[in-house]
Symmetry: C2
Subunit: 398 residues, 2 copies
């Protein structure tokens, strides 16, 4: 048996033993290898039928009556409660709606206000996904704070008596590095500041433990590992202990204590609903709700175990299939520092990714020189990992 045959044989055995493998049937996939679920998750089979029902019956036939009778009005909190167990939150702390960027604004401004007077500095992960930095800059400008970008590892030492809020990514979108959520959270809280975690690249890929680790606020998108569909609404977590004092910069009528009272004065709703803004986007929200159905009975520990096994195996296959010196992993080797993707630095990365996609291996390119491969444990298997590495080697050899 050749080394390649040995890898393929191991992949087959790992796939056969994979308890999550049967979940792949719940998604629409083809005979390619889809390693871009960290950008846009695959379509869950339950979604098209549910969305057709929402459109044709709930909207088409029942129209306005569906706001109450079909539960449209309460969908933001109900969908939030479906996400809650995936990020280690008790019910009643997450609300779904608006984009990730808008939720970053709510969370960072809200955190600054919760921190109280005398604190006028916001720390932000310097390697963050750009939107977080741009929005944090706006939040700083509009709350009279200064913004200080820092490496996440330096945040515990930097948070001090002037720090109001800290915005940090759980997993770096580019490198796939997993940051120390428990440690950074504890340090920020010890400094009297509040931490906002961006879970875009971790929710649905690994355990998060928001409640367990005492996180203050968190936000995340739902179209990556949560498979909500293109641009599906994001979510906001405000820990129960902060809800009563949470002061949103976007107090739309949906966050009013009595929305249909139509009163001129604003009185904030209790609970997670305080994080709502305007009329929720029902088609996308209910598509997401249907998509979240695949998580019933899924163990996040099993997801994490498979994710690490997949990325370990992919890296091993890359070492075997790709000639030395052509790619370099910028994703940490240590499991404790790795999310659910592998990022490889590569010359001509954009061209290489185009060639991979043309051959059915879909990852993505991030400027200037990164090939990014996301491993979604619910529908990616070990044979996929071996094939992706093998095709990468073929492309690089030309």
């Amino acid at each position: 048996m050749s080394d390649t045959e040995s890898l393929q044989s191991r992949a087959a055995a790992l796939d056969a033993a994979d308890e999550l493998g049967k979940l792949r049937e719940q998604f629409v996939l083809d005979d390619g290898v889809y390693l871009d679920g960290n950008s846009l998750g695959a379509l869950p089979r339950a979604v098209p039928g549910r969305l057709a029902d929402v459109v044709e019956r709930e909207w088409g036939q029942r129209r306005i009556c569906s706001w109450d009778e079909a539960g449209w009005w309460t969908a933001p909190e109900r969908t939030g409660d479906l996400i809650a167990p995936l990020v280690g939150a008790a019910a009643g702390q997450i609300v779904v709606g608006d984009s990730t960027s808008v939720n970053v604004f709510k969370a960072v401004v809200g955190a600054v206000r919760l921190a109280g007077d005398g604190r006028d500095e916001i720390l932000v992960d310097e390697s963050t996904f750009p939107t977080d930095g741009y929005i944090a800059e706006s939040a700083a400008r509009m709350t009279g704070c200064t913004l200080r970008p820092l490496a996440p590892a330096d945040i515990p030492g930097a948070a001090g008596p002037r720090t109001a809020a800290v915005l940090v990514n759980h997993v770096d979108y580019r490198t796939g590095r997993l940051h120390d959520l428990p440690g950074i959270t504890a340090a920020v809280r010890a400094a009297g500041a509040l931490v906002v975690w961006d879970l875009c690249h971790s929710a649905g890929a690994l355990p998060v433990g928001l409640d367990e680790h005492g996180v203050d606020l968190a936000i995340g998108c739902t179209y990556k590992y949560l498979n909500g569909g293109p641009g599906s609404p994001a979510y906001l977590y405000v820990a129960a202990r902060h809800q009563g004092a949470f002061d949103s910069p976007l107090p739309g009528w949906n966050s009013h204590a009595e929305p249909f009272g139509m009163r001129p004065g604003f009185e904030p709703a209790d609970g997670a609903a305080r994080g709502r803004v305007g009329t929720p986007d029902i088609l996308s929200m209910l598509a997401l709700e249907a998509a979240l159905g695949v998580w019933g009975g899924v163990s996040l520990a099993a997801v994490r175990e498979k994710s690490l096994a997949l990325t370990d195996f992919f890296l091993e296959c890359v070492r075997h299939h790709v000639p030395d010196g052509h790619v370099e992993s910028v994703t940490p080797a240590a499991h404790a520092e790795r999310g659910s993707q592998v990022a490889l630095r590569c010359a001509d990365a954009a061209t290489v990714m185009d060639a991979l996609i043309a051959r059915g291996v879909v990852g993505d390119y991030r400027a200037p020189d990164i090939l990014r491969f996301g491993f979604t444990p619910l529908y990616v298997g070990f044979a996929d990992a071996e094939r992706a590495a093998r095709v990468l080697g073929e492309v690089i050899r030309g």
Copy 2:
């Protein structure tokens, strides 16, 4: 012929002569009377098939590739350009995305910043839909302005050298009163301030003329007369002359000049895209785009003419069918002051509306005592108006 038969005979003749009447076939409707299109527009028949294609083919089969190849990325500007002619705007000034409330925040903060230093007052329509007032209060707080609620008719006299921005509704959501957009706009601009018009209750029901009247900024929802579906994304208009200096409080990565450059520093995009924030909500956006197809070849002058004829006829039928003293119209009688709805003050309005809905006449109730009937010229006819008034009379007589 009885008076009732005479009204019904006139209704039949008006419907037979109605050039817009054939558009009703493009919507999913039943044998009831739907007078709540000013809250949630009926389902256009083109939407379910298009949305199924977006979900099953574009998302399901092409996944991430659809961002480019299916034109997802450019949908916010493309859909904005479909709305533009409906509100009298040249192309390139409207972008679709986010909720109405979020767009009010962008527009009001943006207007204050455009107004420049030394202006620290925001005027707001005192009878506005509540979310506009709540968000304007937040915008005032975050820009160091004071907020002054005023009757729209008093705005021209009140706008002065301290005024930065004015937020006013084109049509009042409760009374259906149409405010003087040309006159208020001219007065606000003459005072050196900027005006933001909320078009939620006018776009798609009557001509707006944003460019013609020199409006600075405008926002609106798309789920009322534009039939985009529950919670479909709203839009932002920034007049071309302001785009270069428009400074959004929500500068998400989608509004960056080079979004995929993933650079830490923010550089705003040119044009309407500067009003974008985060990843657009594609399912709802493309449902809206399909819904807007019904407007091809529709004359807004004809829409306005029919709208006024419908509300006139409904008021006449109400006078005939409803015993004296039970309802009072709070919608102005003068055409120049009327939008496309009729609001009737009525004792026990909530109970009366429930009874109407149970008998197939769907309007809505607005606290404390208003029955609200919206007339959507694309799919409501004169026989509908007569029947609604007749059933209202029957309900009130008990």
